[in-house]
Each structure stands twice: as structure tokens, then as C-alpha cells.
């Protein structure tokens, strides 16, 4: 084992297997959590029949999904329709290569780690678009168009808010960004960037209140209306993995990654700190979904262009100025 891990290729292969298993388990857990959170917010108790506290409910649902027939609509674009679910799922696995779960655990601590995450996250949009267009359904197409418009609008403030952290740490390497937060976490001195990032991340993952690409009341299920069985399952998995990834990035950038508050680790290992903070943020995103009503499309777009982008830009300029002056 030791010698497999010392070999770089071996480490990558082992890491890939771990990531694949983790992403499935994570998605299963998050679907269960979402149903529980939704239940309790609506004064229900959520799933409870299968397993203790209904924990096995999503596994059963997943098995049902695997057993279902894969239907391809007659007039759909066959190639694109098949490619889309794969293309939506693969890019969300890439960020796991650089996510710093603990001090020694990033699979490959590249010096351009942050860039890896954001350059692959854009492929997701392209995949949604291919899926929506390829299924030859007006609701799917409308959902896809909305998704693209939304992603173009929210990608800019997202990157701007990330840049202000990069300016402060002068590095794109995830582990160094975490180490720079040894004494205090960055959301204390970059509250605007943290808030902008979190809002944009919610929008990027198409979560409520920004879930207009798949708004049930208007668009059936948006871009994945026509997908059945495990193809739909892959869209679902990708969404929940993506939620985990954006929260993990938020943890790294603003909440001190694997470190405890103000440098006190309290004897808890780094990976526990990291996962605890990430799942706390995931919970907040779920909380959003069941608390806020869905925005209208024009409100959504103008909120990004007229509020978030100027705010993020101003924050970036002030950050740059302060760094030069101090």
C-alpha cells in the first residue's frame, strides 16, 4: 500500500476510486438530508420507513432508478442526448483532485488548484445545454437557455469574489490559502466577498431560490425533463456533488479549511473540521431552498448585473488598494 501511494499514478488511481465512492455516498446522504430538512421545515418528519431514521430510503430509490428503462425520445438528438448526462457528471469530480480535506490529503496539491476547480465547473453549463437542446423538448430547451443566461451572469461576481481572496494570499494553491488563515478566517475580513461567493454558488448550482432552470411550476423539470432512469440519476448526482464542491471551496476560501477557529484545533483532526464546516454550509443552502420563494427570471439576471457585479468589483478594488497601502 505504502509503495502504491508513493507512486503518483497509483495515488491518482486510488484517489479516483475513493472519490467515486465518496461522491455517490455524499449524494445519497445529501438527498436524504434534503428530504429530512424539508420535512422538518414543513412540520413533517420526512422519510422514516426504510432503515433507522429513513437513512436507507435514498439507497432504495437509487436502486429503483438503476432498474428503470432508459427512454430516448423519438425526435431527440441521439448522440447529444446520450453524451449530456456523462458530460454533466465527469467535470464535477475533477475538483476533488485539489480539494484540501486535510493537511496531507489533497490528492494533488497543484499550484493552480483554484483554477482547476473553476475551469472545469464551466463545462457543466455546456453539458446542461447539450442535454436541454438534445432532448428536443420546449421545456428542456427553455430550461437550458435560462441555465446558460444565469451561469453567464453569476460566473462573473463569483470569480471576482474569489479573486479578492487570491489577491490577499497571492497564490492559487488551495493548501496555501488555507494556511494563510491560521490566525483568523477570511470571512471576517472579507465579509462581502464571502457573501457574494455564497450567493453566486447557490445560483451556479441551480439551487432555490435560483432554480429557475428547473422550475417545476413553469418548466416541468427544466433541462432534464426527458431523461429517465440512471441518466436522470446522473443529473441528480451531479447536482448534489456540485453543491458539496461549492461548499467545500467556500470552506477553503473563507472558513479556514481544515483549521479550527483562531488556530485552535481542539484536538479534532483536520478532515473532521473540513467536513463539518462544509456540511454546515450545505445545510444552509438547503435551508435557503425551503425558505425563500423562487425569483423571477428578470429579477435574477438584473440582481447579478446591477448589484452583485458592482459590489464584487468594488470589493476587489478596495482589497487591492488596502493591500498596496498596508
Amino acid at each position: 500500500m505504502e509503495h502504491i501511494l508513493s507512486n503518483e499514478l497509483g495515488r491518482l488511481i486510488v484517489g479516483l476510486i475513493v472519490v467515486l465512492i465518496f461522491s455517490q455516498l455524499n449524494a445519497l446522504f445529501l438527498v436524504w438530508l434534503e428530504r429530512k430538512v424539508a420535512g422538518h421545515i414543513q412540520l413533517r418528519i420526512g422519510p422514516k420507513e426504510v432503515g433507522p431514521y429513513g437513512l436507507l430510503q435514498t439507497i432504495v430509490d437509487g436502486l429503483k432508478l438503476v432498474g428503470k428503462e432508459l427512454i430516448t425520445p423519438k425526435r431527440a438528438d441521439r448522440i447529444l442526448f446520450i453524451i449530456a448526462p456523462v458530460l454533466v457528471f465527469v467535470p464535477v469530480l475533477v475538483p476533488f483532485i485539489v480539494l484540501p480535506f486535510s493537511k496531507s490529503l489533497p490528492l494533488n496539491d497543484m499550484n493552480v488548484g483554484l483554477l482547476v476547480i473553476f475551469s472545469f465547473s464551466t463545462i457543466n453549463v455546456l453539458a446542461i445545454l447539450i442535454g436541454g437542446w438534445g432532448s428536443n423538448n420546449k421545456y428542456a430547451l427553455l430550461g437550458a437557455i435560462r441555465s446558460v443566461a444565469q451561469n453567464i451572469a453569476y460566473e462573473i461576481p463569483l470569480l471576482l469574489s474569489v479573486l479578492s481572496v487570491v489577491l490577499m494570499t497571492k497564490t492559487l494553491q488551495m493548501s496555501k490559502i488555507v494556511q494563510a488563515q491560521g490566525s483568523y478566517w477570511f470571512f471576517l475580513i472579507q465579509p462581502i466577498a464571502a457573501l457574494t461567493y455564497f450567493i453566486c454558488a447557490t445560483a451556479e448550482t441551480n439551487r432555490a431560490p435560483f432554480d429557475i432552470p428547473e422550475a417545476e411550476s413553469e418548466l416541468v423539470a427544466g433541462f432534464h425533463t426527458e431523461f429517465s432512469g440512471m441518466r436522470f440519476g446522473l443529473f441528480f448526482l451531479a447536482e448534489y456533488t456540485n453543491v458539496f464542491v461549492v461548499c467545500a471551496v467556500a470552506t477553503t476560501l473563507f472558513l479556514g479549511g481544515w483549521q479550527g477557529p483562531f488556530g485552535f484545533s481542539l484536538g479534532i483532526p483536520g478532515i473532521i473540521w473540513f467536513l463539518a464546516k462544509t456540511y454546515l454550509l450545505v445545510f444552509v443552502i438547503m435551508w435557503f431552498r425551503w425558505t425563500f420563494p423562487r425569483l423571477r427570471f428578470d429579477q435574477l439576471i438584473s440582481f447579478s448585473w446591477k448589484v452583485l457585479i458592482p459590489l464584487a468589483l468594488a470589493n476587489l478594488i478596495i482589497t487591492a488598494g488596502v493591500i498596496k497601502l498596508i
Binding site: E8, L9, L12, L80, N108, M110, N111, V112, L115, V116, F118, S119, F120, T122, I123, V125, L126, L129, I130, W133, L141, A144, I145, V148, A149, N151, I152, E155, L172
Partner: protein, 176 residues
């Protein structure tokens, strides 16, 4: 980092051939397919292939920037424009000879320049080259030696913006 996997043995050779093959396939789809959405997706594939080639050349940073900017931003903006244009299931207009001729001419011109540059460059074996392609070096080059090129490239954005303004102004008048 990634350099050690990419520089030895049989695996990288195969990977390189696959990457080049995909890039060419993407480029061919981008030019010859008659469905405009396939054209853009082909272009995205070709550009992603080029990004992988940058990684082979030793700069992960440039590769990722290529992916972020060209695949992530430019291709998606193009698709967005296409979604607002003529439906794909309508009969396709015939290719005009004049348009093909202009396209071929522009392509040949760029190809000629590229071949010229390839011949004029004094190539060195990889071992003798300096392989410092860190973000800092690239930044220094962009703001010193290649500052003119950098500024000229930014003109493209200006032209795109002007184009968008003109289209939106005149379209409104024609359609209403």
C-alpha cells in the same frame, strides 16, 4: 506535479495521440457539419484539445486558462447567440460560393503565416529549453515584451461590444 507523469514512458505517447486526434475531430466537426450547434460543440472539443496540448507543453496554467476562457466563456456565449437565432429544423440555406471562398482564403492565410513562423523559429530540444512557465513569468512577459500584442488582443473585446450594441440597436428598429 503533472510533469513527472507526462514526461516518461508509453502512456503519455498514447495520451498525446488521443488528444491530437480529438482536437482534429473537433476542428473537422466545427467546419464541416451542417448543424450549427454541432459546429460550436466541435469548436469546444477542439479548444479543449488545445488546452490539453498546453498541458503537454508544460504549462498547466495556460491550459486551464484556455479551458476557462475559450470553452467556458466564448463557446457558451456563442451557443447563447445560436439559441436566439433561426431554428435548426428549418431547411438550411445553401452554402454560398463567395462565403466558402472567403473562409478558405482566411484559413489558408493563417495557415501560411503559421507555417512561416514554424520554419523561422530556431527550435531547441526540450532539454535545453528553460521550462519556467510559472504564472509570474507569463505575467512579466505579457506586461513587458508582449505588451503590444496583449493590448491588440483586447481590441477584439471592444469590437465584440460594438457589434453587440449595433445589432441590438438596428434589430429593434427592423422588427418593430
Amino acid at each position: 506535479m503533472s510533469g513527472s507523469i507526462l514526461s516518461q514512458g508509453f502512456l503519455p505517447q498514447v495520451a498525446f495521440i488521443i488528444v491530437v486526434g480529438l482536437t482534429f475531430c473537433g476542428a473537422i466537426i466545427a467546419v464541416f457539419h451542417r448543424n450549427i450547434l454541432y459546429n460550436v460543440l466541435g469548436l469546444a472539443l477542439a479548444l479543449a484539445g488545445v488546452a490539453a496540448l498546453y498541458v503537454f507543453l508544460g504549462s498547466l496554467f495556460i491550459g486551464l486558462m484556455q479551458l476557462l476562457i475559450y470553452v467556458g466563456a466564448i463557446c457558451i456565449a456563442m451557443v447563447f447567440a445560436i439559441m436566439l437565432s433561426r431554428p435548426v429544423h428549418l431547411p438550411k440555406p445553401k452554402r454560398k460560393i463567395s462565403k466558402i471562398a472567403t473562409g478558405v482564403f482566411a484559413g489558408l492565410l493563417i495557415l501560411g503565416v503559421n507555417i512561416g513562423v514554424i520554419y523561422k523559429t530556431a527550435w531547441q530540444p526540450a532539454a535545453e529549453r528553460k521550462i519556467d512557465w510559472s504564472v509570474k513569468t507569463i505575467g512579466d512577459f505579457l506586461l513587458t515584451k508582449y505588451v503590444l500584442v496583449f493590448e491588440v488582443i483586447s481590441l477584439v473585446l471592444l469590437v465584440a461590444m460594438l457589434g453587440a450594441i449595433i445589432i441590438s440597436r438596428f434589430n429593434g428598429r427592423v422588427s418593430s
